[in-house]
Each structure stands twice: as structure tokens, then as C-alpha cells.
């Protein structure tokens, strides 16, 4: 190597050299802070590491002060179930039987805009490695997606690519995709949200942590070779807003290789089984910079790395680039010397390349050399944990009051039977509510043979033991509610995911979140973010479900227009016997249809108002006590065998809930709405805290007793009747199953071919 590298010695002797910190996304005061930490100017390699680790994406510098609430407002349930809390790669929740479940959601928004297929594919790859890092075997994935208007040209570029990428990568890994969301809103045009969730299962005694400890232990890089993938991708892609130039400004994109990831998963399982690693960390954003600095700081140790030992795909890469590369399918492990041979043997067996690139020591410093020259000498904590923390100013937007005052009360409402029928068909066919089969049919939902429920059910359920223990996961988020009231919007997102998990018969246990927002430098956006985190933390405390981890994605905006504030909340639950799960489709003729909860005139942010082009007013009222009560009923009634079906009422209201149940079952029903109520409100209001339960006649007394005991209003609103072949809303209209099906299933094929 004849390349001139900037060594630590150079940095000491040439303090005056001008460095391109601004181009790397660092502010002048952040650059001075680095110089202060080091007592000299950073070398170019150190500058690369700091810039990528101090980016918004890696350091959470704008969100940290708000995320602390999740650690402060911790429900008492947490100590019983949380084996690993926030701060590690993913939280770990005890589910009994000596097993734990780890789950996490992350964003891959910006890369998916630039290159939809690879962006979405590597999003799956990244979250799967996060789960793998905890010692777990990944068992399922889910993808909550948000795009611009369904008929916008760019949506037709982005959505098919994203869906194909998720299917391509996830299907090759052999992981079932058990749920998610597809939501359209014009603010996501140019800022699609591609969030990915993964669930893994780990025996208690196999949980791994990412600390580098034990002087003399080897640091091993294993998996794919390092190439020029996404160099600076994290800081450049995740921290800069796309301007009006559109997709012409394109940095280097990471490309995933799912088969390489698959052998990595299997190799890791065997490494964990044989207890060959002291600590392990995946390489994602910020690559080797992140893995080495985080592992050394987590272990309160030092580390020395010989960077020239890193296997390269492209021999021309400079050390700065190797440190920043985001090449996929790589892991980093700390291995004791007496386990090294066994470790290497496992890697050889799975055809996974592994090289010892470094050694743990007691120096308290992270030192990196390149062909004999020292190019990095830093305290690892200053890179990984002591990044800048900003108390960004925030203020309630001036437009917020006007927006909330603009309730959708003046919109003309359907009243006659024909008008109500037309409104129902329009809602069922709307892109946000239409059948997502076009998307989910591209995913493998049943591979591994443990999927019990998958899309379009309320939550996805996978069986994790032979005797029927299962975990249920659901994700929800409603950016329109968030825009109207971010505090309530976050609580409604949590309540819906919590309700969805309970609706299928599982007890909600823990929460993960992916908070998608515009620029934190905008005081309006920062207020939305502050309100969202406050609302979510308060609601988690009240519902008794701790936050186990998550991810923040800022800068989702084009020009001055931010996306709707979109917290996507994932809730994980556990069900003792998956045979007891409650499906969405009703079945038995004559079974009674019950609505739990109360319905009031709530159309602010509703899908019905959205279809009239209106967004204003207040979102539905939040009643967390009610949510808890109906969830308890859903779980208890399922366990006691009182239910044949259940489905939560949310976007689109009761009419859409009933239509979905009828379509899923292929049997019709007679519906009798309460006499004293406005049928439009009964059918389309989005009041929260409601679930539709289907109960066999023989169990109705026990069921209603259960509701009375908890003080939850229950209304009998119909009967399953296969002779009808549609929804017959008495004294109003009948919508045939055929027309509902045509409306629901026609939308995606006609939009996306």
C-alpha cells in the first residue's frame, strides 16, 4: 500500500489542516467537541467515525431527551417480564417455559425512496440481524408501509419495488411475513415510510449481549466481505432531506444478499448453542465504526483493531471507507482464545468467512491501525455514547388551533339507505382499507409451519413451542390522528395495536416503536415529537406494557412539508395455547354479533372525512381504562371458549369491520343498528375502545355476564346468517358479498397491475 493515510502522528503534527467536517454532516461546534475529546484534530478516519456515529440516525441527538421518558415511566409489570430493556439491540421479554421473545421495529425510509427494492430488502436484513444479535432465532417479520397518494406516479415506482424487495429478501430467508400495514397519504410522497419489525425466540440462558470484555479475547468479523456499500449512507441518507431535485442525487446503495444472511443466521445459532461467543453485535448503519466503538464502550474495555485484516470486496477502499461501509450480512463477535478454533470451525461449516481483526484490551481506548500506522486512537465512549445531545426548541404550531377547530361537522353526511350503502362500498374500496392481498400474497406467510394467524387478521400469531405457546404481534399508527393531536395520536396508535393483539386472544405484554417525523430543526415537528413521546410513555404506563426499544426516523420531509407525525407502534402479546386464538371470520349460522364499547360522533381524522378531502377536528377520544377492560374480556372470553370470531373497530368504523368479517368468512349477517342512533354514526364513526365479538347462542349469558362484571357496555347488533350472502343492515340497505368483494379486492390490482 502506497496510499497516504492520515495517521495519529500526522494529526498531532499538523493541527492546522482544514477538514471537511461540514460535508460529513457535522456542525462546527460538534467538530470542536471532537477536537476537545481528543486534545488534537481528529485523523480523517476518526472524523469519519465520529461523523457517522454522531449523525441523527446513530446518536439520537435530537430525540434522546424525549426518549428518556420510556425509561422513567416504567409500568410495574416491566420487572416481571423484561429480561433485557432499552439500550441493547432489542428488548427481551419473558414468555414463560424458559423462553423469551425479542422484537424490534426499525425504519429504512430514505434508502427505500432512493432504491425501493434494495432499500426495503436491506431493511429486513438489518432488523433480522438486530434480533439475531440477541441470541435469538428470528421467527417472523412484519412491514408497516406508508406511501404517497395511491394514484401518484412516484408511488407506482416506489410501492412495487418495496413490496418486491421485502418479499424477495424475506422469502429467501425463509421467514414468514405475518402482518403490517399499507397506508397512503399525500405527505408520504417523496418520503415513503418503510418500517420493518422482526420477532425472535431465545431460551433464557442463551441471551447474548454486545459488550467486548476480557482482555486478550479476539474480535472477529464474520459474514460478507466489506465493499463500498452505502458509504456515508447513514449520515448522508438518513440525515439530509431530499430536495426538489428528486431521485437524481443518489449516493451509493447497499445491496442485500439474503442467502448470505441465511447462512449467517444458521452459523450464529450454532455459535450460541455451543456458547462460543462472549459478546456479539451486528453491523448495520455505521458498520465497523459502530460495532467496535459500541462493543468497547459497552464492555468498559479497550480494543485494538488491525483494519487491513478486514476482507474486502474492493481492494481500492480507503480505511475511512472501510470504517464507514454499510455492507450487509456482517457480524462482529468477541471470542475467548480457547474457543477460537471451535468458532472458526463453525464458520467454515456454514461457509461463512471469519477473520480475527482485533483484540480486547484494558487500555480503555479504541485503537485502529492500517498497515502498521496508527490511524485511530479514541476513547470509545466518546464515539458511541457521548455524542451531542440537543434540547431542540419546540412550540405548539400556530395552525394547530385552527386545524382542531375545523371539525368535519359541515361535510354532507349520507342519510338514506342508498347513500349509506354507497359510502360503505366507497370506504371498503378506498386504498387505505381495500384488501392488501396484492401486497401480502407476494410474501411467504406460512413458511416454517408455525404461522397461526397472518394478514388480514388483527394480529399475526406464530407458535413457538410444540405444546402451543404462541406470540402475537400487531403494528399500528395513524398519522392523521397524530396531526390533529400528537399526544392522543400516539395513544390511539398504541391502543389499537394493544387491542388488535387482545382481539386475537393474546395478552399484550410489551411495546416497540418506530417514530417517523419531519425535521427536528422545525419547532412544529419537534413539538409533535415531544407530544408523541409523552403520550406514548403515559399510555404505556397506564396499560402496563413497557417500551422495550425502538427507532426514530427524522427528516422525513420534502422542502418545508413534513410527513404526518407517524408513530408506528408494535405490541407483542403471548397466548398460552394457539388453538384458542380468535379468528377474524365468523362462521356458525345463528351466532350473535356483539359490539363492545361506546360509539359517538367522532369523524376528525377519519377515513370517511379523508375520502371527502377533509382533515381537521379532533381524533377519537382516548379511554385507556376502557381499552384495558375490553382487552381483558377478549383474552378471558377466548380462553374460556366463548368466542367464534372477533375483530376490532378502528379506521372506517363498524361498517368496515363487519364487511371485513363477512368477506373473510364468505357468510353474510343481519345487522340491526340501535334504534335511537344515527346509522351514519353507528356505521362509520371511528370511536376507539370497541371490538366486535361473535358469540354462539349457548355462550351468550356467560359472555354478557363477563361484560357486566367489568362495566363494559355491550350491544347485540346482529346475527350471522349464511342465507343472506351479504350484509343486511335492517331498515336501511343490503350490500351483497359479491359487490363488497369486488370493491375490496379490485382496488390494488387496478392500481398496481
Amino acid at each position: 500500500m502506497t496510499r497516504n493515510v492520515d495517521t495519529v502522528k500526522d494529526a498531532e503534527t499538523t493541527p492546522e489542516v482544514a477538514q471537511p467536517f461540514a460535508e460529513l454532516g457535522l456542525k462546527p461546534d460538534e467538530y470542536s467537541q471532537i477536537r476537545e475529546h481528543l486534545g488534537r484534530r481528529p485523523t480523517s478516519s476518526e472524523l469519519a467515525m465520529y461523523s457517522v456515529m454522531w449523525s441523527e440516525h446513530c446518536s439520537y441527538k435530537s430525540s434522546k431527551v424525549h426518549l428518556r421518558q420510556f425509561g422513567e415511566k416504567v409500568p410495574s409489570e416491566a420487572k416481571d417480564i423484561l429480561l433485557v430493556g432499552m439500550g441493547e439491540n432489542a428488548g427481551v421479554v419473558d414468555v414463560g417455559d424458559g423462553l423469551a421473545v425479542t422484537f424490534k421495529i426499525e425504519s429504512h425510509n430514505h434508502p427505500s425512496y432512493v432504491e425501493p427494492y434494495q432499500g426495503a430488502a436491506t431493511g429486513i436484513g438489518g432488523i433480522v440481524r438486530d434480533i439475531l444479535t440477541m441470541g435469538a432465532r428470528p421467527v417472523a417479520v412484519m412491514d408497516p408501509l406508508r406511501f404517497g397518494a395511491a394514484d401518484a406516479p412516484d408511488t407506482h415506482r416506489v410501492l412495487p419495488g418495496v413490496v418486491a424487495g421485502i418479499g424477495g429478501y424475506g422469502n429467501c430467508l425463509g421467514l414468514p411475513n405475518i402482518g403490517g400495514e399499507v397506508v397512503f397519504d399525500e405527505t408520504y410522497l417523496g418520503n415513503p415510510l418503510v418500517n420493518a419489525l422482526c420477532v425472535g425466540v431465545v431460551p433464557h440462558d442463551r441471551i447474548q449481549l454486545s459488550a467486548a470484555t476480557g482482555a486478550g479475547n479476539h474480535v472477529i468479523l464474520f459474514g460478507a466481505k466489506t465493499g463500498g456499500d452505502g458509504i456515508g449512507g447513514v449520515s448522508v441518507l438518513a440525515s439530509e432531506t431530499f430536495d426538489d431535485e428528486g431521485p437524481s442525487k443518489r449516493p451509493s446503495v447497499q445491496v442485500g444478499d439474503p442467502f448470505a444472511e441465511k447462512v449467517l443466521i444458521e452459523a450464529c445459532q450454532e455459535l450460541f448453542e455451543q456458547q462460543l461467543v462472549v459478546g456479539i453485535q451486528d453491523l448495520g448503519g455505521a458498520g465497523i465504526s459502530c460495532a467496535t466503538s459500541e462493543m468497547a464502550s459497552n464492555g468498559d474495555s479497550g480494543m485494538h483493531v488491525w483494519l487491513d485484516r478486514v476482507p474486502l470486496r474492493d481492494s481500492t477502499l480507503a480505511p475511512e471507507e472501510i470504517l464507514m461501509s454499510e455492507s450487509q450480512e456482517r457480524m462482529c463477535a468477541v471470542v475467548a482464545p480457547d474457543k477460537l478454533d471451535a468458532f472458526m470451525a463453525v464458520c467454515r461449516k456454514w461457509d461463512v468467512e471469519a477473520v480475527a481483526i482485533g483484540e480486547v484490551n484494558d487500555s480503555g481506548r479504541l485503537t485502529i491501525e492500517w498497515h502498521g500506522a496508527q490511524i485511530v486512537d479514541v476513547p470509545p465512549k466518546t464515539v458511541a455514547h457521548d455524542g451531542p445531545v440537543y434540547e431542540r426548541p419546540f412550540a405548539r404550531p400556530q395552525w394547530q388551533d385552527a386545524l382542531q377547530a375545523d371539525a368535519p361537522t359541515s361535510l354532507p353526511r349520507p342519510t338514506s339507505g342508498d347513500e349509506l350503502r354507497a359510502a360503505l362500498l366507497q370506504l371498503v374500496a378506498s386504498p387505505n382499507l381495500a384488501s392488501k392481498a396484492w401486497v401480502t400474497d407476494q410474501y411467504d406467510r406460512y413458511v416454517m409451519g408455525n404461522t397461526v394467524l397472518a394478514q388480514p387478521e388483527d394480529s399475526g400469531i406464530v407458535r413457538i413451542t410444540d405444546d402451543g405457546l404462541g406470540v402475537a404481534v400487531s403494528t399500528d399508527g395513524n398519522g392523521r390522528y397524530g396531526k390533529l393531536d400528537p399526544y392522543a395520536g400516539a395513544q390511539l396508535a398504541l391502543a389499537e395495536a394493544y387491542r388488535n393483539v387482545a382481539t386475537t386472544g393474546a395478552k399484550p405484554l410489551a411495546v416497540t416503536n418506530c417514530l417517523n417525523f419531519g425535521s427536528p430543526e422545525d419547532t412544529d415537528v419537534m413539538w409533535q415529537f415531544a407530544e408523541t413521546t409523552r403520550g406514548l410513555a403515559d399510555a404505556c404506563l397506564k396499560l402496563g406494557v413497557p417500551v422495550t426499544g425502538g427507532n426514530v426516523s427524522f427528516y422525513n420531509q420534502t422542502g418545508d412539508t413534513a410527513i404526518l407525525p407517524t408513530p408506528v407502534i408494535g405490541v407483542l402479546g403471548v397466548i398460552d395455547d394457539v388453538a384458542r386464538r380468535t379468528p377474524l371470520a365468523w362462521d356458525g349460522d345463528g351466532d350473535a354479533i356483539w359490539l363492545l364499547g361506546e360509539t359517538s360522533d367522532e369523524f376528525g381524522g377519519s377515513e370517511w372525512a379523508h375520502l371527502q378531502g377533509h382533515l381537521g377536528g379532533l381524533p377519537p377520544a382516548v379511554d385507556l381504562d376502557r381499552e384495558r377492560q375490553i382487552a381483558e374480556i377478549a383474552v378471558a372470553a377466548s380462553r374460556d371458549g366463548l368466542l367464534t370470531a372477533a375483530h376490532d373497530v378502528s379506521v372506517g368504523g363498524l361498517g368496515v369491520t363487519l364487511a371485513e368479517m363477512a368477506l373473510r368468512s364468505g357468510k353474510g349477517a343481519r345487522i340491526f343498528l340501535p334504534d335511537d342512533a344515527d346509522p351514519f354514526i353507528s356505521l362509520f364513526s371511528e370511536s376507539a375502545g370497541r371490538i366486535v365479538f361473535v358469540v354462539p347462542r349457548s355462550e351468550e349469558v356467560r359472555f354478557t355476564d363477563m361484560c357486566t362484571a367489568r362495566g363494559v357496555p355491550a350491544t347485540r347488533i346482529g346475527v350471522v346468517d349464511s342465507s343472506i350472502e351479504g350484509l343486511e343492515v335492517q331498515d336501511s340497505f343490503t350490500a351483497a358479498l359479491d359487490e363488497l368483494r369486488a370493491a375490496s379486492e379490485g382496488t390494488f390490482p387496478s392500481l398496481f397491475g
Binding site: 463500498g228 445491496v255 448470505a260
Partner: protein, 79 residues
């Protein structure tokens, strides 16, 4: 009449899993002297008019190649 050939290759810095799989198979077949494989695509376009360079550029850059991760080259073979 003209035949235009458009070759599309992944950019050099982009990972090529297919090429790597071919390389691995070659090694197993004993061709260990081959050290790298990159796999691309070749399009053969038949035209019934004289080739229009600007139009071909548009065809290649908007449809045949994904310019985010791929390079292309256009050559006219006969006219």
C-alpha cells in the same frame, strides 16, 4: 434497420450476489484460477429506423438499467 446492443452491469461498487454464487460454483468445479465474476444483462434491440442516440439513452436509462445501481453501455452493431 439497425441492431442496437445495450449492456447493463451493476456498478463496480455494488455487491453482485449472483456473480459471487457463480464464482463459488466455479471454484467447486475446480476453476480456482478465476478470481472474480460479475454478471450483467445484454439487450438486443432491433430498430426499423436509424438509431436516435438521445432516444436510446432514454430507453436505457429509464427502463433497461436501474441507474441507481447499474451502468449501461449502448452500441450500434449494424445499420
Amino acid at each position: 434497420m439497425a441492431r442496437v446492443v445495450v449492456d447493463v452491469m451493476l456498478k463496480p461498487e455494488i455487491l453482485d450476489p449472483q456473480g459471487q454464487a457463480v464464482l463459488g460454483a466455479l471454484a467447486r468445479l475446480g476453476h480456482s484460477d478465476i478470481t472474480s465474476v460479475r454478471q450483467g444483462k445484454r439487450f438486443e434491440l432491433e430498430l426499423d429506423a436509424a438509431p436516435d442516440a438521445a432516444a436510446l439513452e432514454e430507453v436505457a436509462s429509464t427502463l433497461l438499467a436501474n441507474t441507481v445501481i447499474e451502468d449501461y453501455s449502448i452500441r450500434v452493431e449494424e445499420s
